[in-house]
């Protein structure tokens, strides 16, 4: 099978195949496969420790899987650590605890990737960075340091930082889990706008309202494997496994009946 | 020829090791003097009136701002003679190193006393304990425990500073090494041996103090350091 050609023809942006990852004796991922087409949003759900974050980190090789392959737009990402920078530039990542660069103000956080990695000249980088901050509604906070921003603002800056690199796909690793409840909305709104604007996104989250209204597909991971997957409608109303229903109920209890 | 040199070096080791006794004496004496002076200085700086604490601040600023070598020269060749004190090189070095160490130790203890907070003092006074007793029986036992890491650092610095007593001819490790080096024409191995002696003393002492810290630790106490 010529995946490279097939992916290109079918509009598959990211293909993940049979990913295995072990920490010590603990097998976190036991053969996970999925793919995402251009403009789609996949939401990954699952209990903590189920391997969701590890899966995201495997995609841009922040964690190297022992087994399995990953393709980005038909090019293999795995086993090409020399060119990893080029892939990472095309895979935007948003972390649970923001990981904004603490010594740089908001706009410099957004432009540093352009300057250091893409070698863009400073003036152009600044223009793009301001544009991205405007997109997430933070141009007035451009000169504030991370310590001076609220959690929600930090996360929006970190989304702008990833977007500035003009990525093909965005990975979100529980982007609202570290936020106070009243700050979650502003971040989800930015993400929703992005999805509507045609960004390809893989989102690990517990926000079922977001999953229901935005996802094209939901993947439920349990014990390092995909247990269930399908459209939100299918997973919320007619999951293949009883376990999936239980999990969704529990999440609704924990995080409150979600909006809409 | 080579064999003879090795023999010379070998024979010089006991001579160097006798310097070890002197070095340990210098460090022990100076640490002790610094401790005896440093504690009341710390107390004076925290609890004393502004004249006392101002005076102590000046002392600290002076002894921490000057090089050890300059202080050694100033006291040994200058002040001690000016005041007609007939002191040996060893005693002079212990006194000068001790006066310097007092400045540093007082700041270690002061930091610890301050970190204990006013609550302990208020609780003691409210029990009717006199301020002076409260310092001795409530504040100091806690402060000294937290001071051990800082104190261990001071030991390491003082140990290395003790080599500067070479400048006034105290027969410590380095002075003896210099003697042997010029006599055997083999300075490299001799100075290396003396470096190793100091390194063992430095880390050995620090390790011992870490053990002491563990031993006198009160469960759940001082974790914030």
């Amino acid at each position: 099978m010529n995946l490279e050609k097939a992916d290109h023809d079918n509009g598959v942006v990211l293909r993940v195949e049979d990913i295995h990852k072990t920490y010590g004796k603990n097998e976190i991922l036991k053969g996970v496969s999925f793919h995402i087409k251009k403009g789609e949003t996949i939401v990954i759900i699952g209990a903590s420790g189920s391997g969701k974050s590890t899966l995201l980190r495997c995609i841009n090789q922040l964690t190297i899987p022992e087994k399995g392959r990953i393709w980005l737009e038909g090019e293999e990402v795995t086993h090409h650590m020399k060119e990893i920078s080029h892939f990472r530039q095309r895979i935007g990542m948003v972390f649970q605890d923001f990981n904004l660069f603490d010594h740089l103000c908001a706009v410099r956080n957004v432009e540093i990737g352009l300057i250091k990695v893409k070698k863009m000249d400073k003036k152009q980088a600044r223009e793009i960075a301001m544009e991205e901050l405007r997109r997430v509604g933070l141009e007035r906070q451009a000169n504030q340091y991370p310590a001076q921003l609220s959690g929600g603002q930090k996360q929006r800056v970190s989304i702008a930082r990833a977007l500035a690199m003009n990525p093909t796909v965005m990975l979100f690793d529980e982007p609202t889990s570290a936020l106070d409840p009243e700050l979650i909305g502003e971040v989800l709104e930015v993400m929703r706008d992005l999805a509507m604007g045609g960004m390809t996104m893989v989102v690990v989250t517990h926000e079922m309202g977001f999953a229901r209204s935005v996802a094209n597909e939901i993947i439920f991971i349990e014990g390092g494997k995909i247990l269930d997957q399908g459209t939100p409608h299918k997973l919320f109303t007619n999951p293949e496994h009883e376990r999936t229903r239980q999990f969704i109920c529990k999440i609704d209890e924990l995080y409150g009946k979600t909006e809409k | 020829m080579v064999g003879k040199n090795i023999l010379l070096i070998y024979q010089s080791i006991p001579f160097l090791l006798r310097g070890l006794v002197v070095t340990i004496g210098l460090v022990g004496g100076a640490l002790g003097l610094g401790f005896i002076l440093g504690i009341p200085m710390a107390i004076g700086q925290v609890y004393g009136n502004k004249y006392i604490s101002g005076l102590i601040s000046i002392y600290v600023w002076f002894f921490r701002g000057l090089p050890v070598l300059v202080l050694l020269f100033l006291f040994y060749f200058g002040l001690f003679i000016l005041f007609n004190l007939n002191l040996s090189e060893f005693t002079s070095a212990v006194l000068v190193l001790g006066l310097i160490s007092a400045a540093y130790q007082s700041q270690i203890f002061r930091g610890s006393i301050k970190s204990i907070g006013e609550g302990q003092m208020l609780a003691a006074i409210s029990l009717g304990i006199k301020k002076y007793d409260a310092i001795l029986s409530i504040i100091l036992p806690q402060a000294l425990r937290i001071s051990i890491p800082g104190w261990s650092n001071e030991y390491a610095i003082l140990l290395k500073d003790s080599a500067i007593a070479y400048a006034i001819g105290v027969m410590e490790v380095l002075t003896r090494a210099q003697f042997v080096a010029t006599r055997t024409y083999k300075p490299l191995p001799i100075f290396f041996i003396s470096a190793i002696i100091f390194i063992i003393l430095t880390y050995g002492g620090v390790k011992l103090l870490a053990l002491l810290e563990k031993k006198v630790r009160i469960p759940g106490y001082g974790e914030e350091r």
Binding site: L62, N99, I112 | A181, I199
Partner: protein, 221 residues
């Protein structure tokens, strides 16, 4: 002899000359010692096993042995293997090597105190490890290390006096020469002492204001 006359005419000219040497010792040693300290810290944290072990042993030796012993090795012992250094060069090299070891420990501690997410985020943007260390980790770590490194620089100002022990006639040495010739130890070393006090105080004030200038909300302490 008139004391004022002694101070202005006999003491000051050589002291000023010595002060010049002291300042040169400090100016040459501080930046190189600091840069070497950064390299050793980075090697210790991010280097492979060989480099990391070397950096560890380096700091172990240079922080464990007295500076004076190190200076003696450079000045008195190296000629025995055919390496002759002038007393000034030996002193500068000794100061650089020794202060690098102390700086590196402050910097290493600061590097290790930075959350791993910073490195991860930098790599996720496509930065190489070197880029991430130089433009993300170090700018933060060095700010956190400023208080420790400042202390080390102040120490160096004082310990520059040890250069005299390897025959480099700097401020203390110049004072010693005059003091023994005129047997005026108390007076001479009081004046020498005041000069050091001024130097250490000025450097302290300077470094404190640098620290304030470099301050970024949320970083440091």
């Amino acid at each position: 002899m008139n004391t004022m006359h002694f101070i202005t005419d006999i003491l000051f000219p050589p002291l000023l000359e010595g002060l010049g040497v002291t300042l040169r010792l400090i100016v040459y040693s501080v930046p190189f010692g600091f840069i070497a300290g950064i390299l050793i810290a980075v090697g210790r944290v991010y280097g492979n096993k060989l480099i990391s072990t070397f950096c560890f042993l380096y700091t172990l030796f240079f922080r464990g042995a007295p500076l004076l012993v190190q200076l003696f090795i450079l000045y008195f012992a190296l000629p025995s293997i055919g390496l002759y250094l002038s007393s000034f060069t030996a002193a500068v090299i000794g100061f650089i090597l020794c202060s690098a070891a102390y700086h590196s420990e402050y910097i290493r501690g600061a590097i290790q105190s930075i959350k791993s997410g910073q490195m991860m985020a930098a790599e996720a943007l496509g930065m190489s490890k070197i880029q991430a260390v130089s433009s993300i980790i170090l700018p933060q770590a060095l700010r956190r290390a400023i208080p420790g490194c400042s202390n080390e620089i102040i120490y160096l100002v004082k310990y520059s006096s040890l250069a005299y022990m390897v025959a480099c006639v700097e401020l203390t040495g110049a004072g010693k020469v005059i003091a023994s010739r005129y047997f005026e130890y108390t007076l001479v070393f009081s004046i020498v002492g005041i000069i050091y006090l001024i130097m250490t105080s000025v450097v302290t004030i300077g470094l404190n204001s640098l620290e304030r200038k470099m301050e970024i909300p949320g970083i440091g302490k």
